[in-house]
């Protein structure tokens, strides 16, 4: 069943076309990767998906709902979450608190209830803590829960972003280069983590430059070049596609 569908998506910044007439659909429960050289429009695609950019044309539908005109927090409420290529960690909080923010949509307490600290608030706090520790455990960060987020090394910050996204109990997780800057061991751990997320039934949209990782875990791969679709298919199909080889390696002169 299709969970995310992009139809004739366009985005240009002034005269520069970042994404042109892009159509694709992601099936529920799969790992769908988007690859392409730098500047191919991958991050632009992510930013349109989560409402940060407004598409110049075309539409994105999630679980049957058109995302047009929705603000980021409304899109998040549909069950979409993401991690960021250039980390967006809350450095003014502890690791646990970062993940607790992720539980935002699953809880209700507003300013007035919080100010009075009603019994329901205390119950909710306990529940949020439990959910957050669960997400941290899944990402192997539970022992760092009380550390300041800023004191974590880079690889763990990447996993912290995943834990935070998980705490919101998403149906769909868009990951922007989760393995960038990781060493080999960390990359293997990241691959295992992404597979665990898939096993939990989360659909994953993955943008990644590490081809080894992409080819190992993806169900399907979309190749972008200069904002256009070059190829789509299973990892094997894509690897043997002449257009893809040309885009990555160039052609004979």
């Amino acid at each position: 069943m299709t969970i995310l569908q992009a139809v004739n998506l366009d985005k240009h910044f002034g005269g520069v076309a970042a994404v042109t007439d892009l159509s694709f659909s992601v099936t529920e429960g799969e790992i769908y990767s988007v690859i392409g050289p730098n500047g191919a429009g991958k991050t632009t695609l992510f930013n349109m998906l989560c409402g940060y950019y407004v598409p110049s044309g075309g539409s994105i539908t999630f679980a049957g709902k058109d995302l047009a005109g929705m603000e980021t927090h409304q899109i998040a409420a549909q069950g979409i979450s993401r991690t960021f290529q250039n980390l967006q960690v809350f450095y003014n909080m502890t690791v646990l608190e970062n993940v607790m923010v992720g539980c935002h949509m699953r809880t209700r307490t507003g300013l007035i209830k919080a100010a009075l600290r009603l019994p329901s608030v205390i119950r909710e706090e306990r529940q949020v803590r439990e959910w957050s520790l669960e997400a941290l455990t899944l990402c192997g960060l539970e022992h760092l829960a009380d550390r300041e987020a800023g004191s974590l090394p880079y690889g763990e910050l990447k996993r912290l972003e995943i834990a935070r996204a998980l705490a919101s109990d998403p149906k769909f997780l868009a990951m922007d280069e989760p393995a960038a800057g990781l060493n080999d061991t960390e990359t293997v751990e990241m691959r295992q983590l992404i597979q665990r997320l898939k096993e939990r039934g989360i659909t994953i949209l993955l943008v990644e430059h590490n081809m080894g990782l992409v080819m190992q875990i993806s169900d399907r791969v979309l190749v972008l070049g200069f904002g256009c679709l070059l190829a789509e298919g299973t990892p094997q199909e894509v690897q043997n596609n002449p257009a893809v080889i040309k885009a990555y390696l160039g052609e004979d002169v």
Partner: protein, 331 residues
């Protein structure tokens, strides 16, 4: 209970001081001013310290609260408590209206817009003399009374303001330690990520702006009744800066830091006579020095120092790894 340990210690000190020194001017009069400023600083700290926004016009809300109480009790002979509530309601409406256009702005622009708002309110207080009394102000404001007791001595005022001041601190602590408080800090940390976690950041910023304005309005109403007199000069730009300085000096994103800042900056002019002439110069100096040398604030700076000293005595503590926030480069 551990969560409120600091609060209980502080409340005990606030309660004990007037019992130990009931006739001391410093305790009852200066003390009451400190406690009033604590309400303002703690409220503004929610907006500046936790949510990471800036307001240079907060004295305006302090003024609107004060003038609501003053005008309604003197001209319309409304019950003082009702007048206080009307003031809060008025500030709620005004802050919401102002927030709409203003909170679209960030950083310097937000600072300029709030500055402008503060000046506009001050000009209205001066010019609309038919009801505000103009530059001469309004006098003969009746005092508050509680269960038939008039709050008419310095000691009673101390108690009254102490009650609201402690309530303000408790409310601030409760909010910060909850979903609503994390929302504020998330907006400060990364607005985009906060939105991605489902936080409606425009609403969050509006709500905390309104809440901190209502803290100021409450303080204003208390101030009007305590002084029995209000005039526009108490609510000018200078006082807005003073509240911001309290927040920055004490420590942004720390409720006790704001309390600390309010105490220090209220005591300074009382103890140093030279302060009178160089007030703005000293506040400016503190603001700049604080931002440069102790961006986390004096209170947080000192408590961290003390903690480090204590930790050294009780054996070496594990050294935190260095932050590596900016390794990644965009592609």
């Amino acid at each position: 209970m551990n969560r409120l340990k600091g609060f209980y210690v502080y409340a005990a000190v606030v309660a004990l001081l007037p019992i130990l020194f009931p006739d001391n001017y410093f305790v009852t009069v200066v003390g009451a001013t400190i406690l009033l400023n604590v309400i303002l600083a703690v409220g503004l700290n929610l907006f500046i310290g936790y949510a990471g926004q800036i307001s240079l016009g907060h004295a305006a809300f302090f003024g609107i609260g004060a003038y609501s109480s003053a005008v309604l009790t003197t001209r319309f002979e409304l019950n003082a408590w009702l007048a206080m509530l009307v003031g809060l309601g008025l500030v709620y409406v005004i802050a919401n209206l102002v927030a709409r256009p203003i909170l679209k702005l960030k950083g310097h622009y937000l600072a300029m817009a709030t500055l402008g708002f503060g000046i506009i309110v001050n000009i209205i207080l001066v010019q609309e003399s038919s009801w505000s009394g103009g530059p001469d102000g309004l006098g003969d404001i009746p005092t508050l009374s509680l269960f038939g007791f008039d709050i008419d001595t310095d000691l009673r005022w101390y108690g009254m303001i102490a009650f609201f001041s402690l309530a303000a601190i408790l409310v601030s602590l409760n909010i910060i330690d909850s979903r609503a408080g994390r929302e504020l800090r998330a907006v400060h940390g990364s607005e985009f990520a906060a939105q991605m976690m489902g936080v409606d950041t425009v609403r969050t910023r509006t709500n905390v702006f309104v809440l901190s304005a209502m803290f100021a309005s409450l303080a204003g109403s208390l101030f009007a009744h305590q002084q029995a007199f209000v005039s526009p000069e108490s609510f000018g730009f200078g006082f807005s800066i003073e509240i911001v300085t309290m927040v920055v000096l004490g420590g942004m994103a720390s409720t006790y830091g704001a309390v600390f800042g309010a105490i220090v900056l209220t005591l300074l002019p009382e103890t140093l006579v030279v302060f009178e002439d160089y007030e703005m110069l000293i506040f400016g100096g503190i603001l700049m020095g604080g931002m440069i040398f102790m961006p986390q604030g004096l209170f947080v700076f000192l408590t961290q120092k003390i903690r480090t000293v204590l930790n050294h005595r009780s054996g070496p503590s594990p050294k935190p790894q260095d932050a590596q926030k900016t390794l990644e480069c965009d592609s």
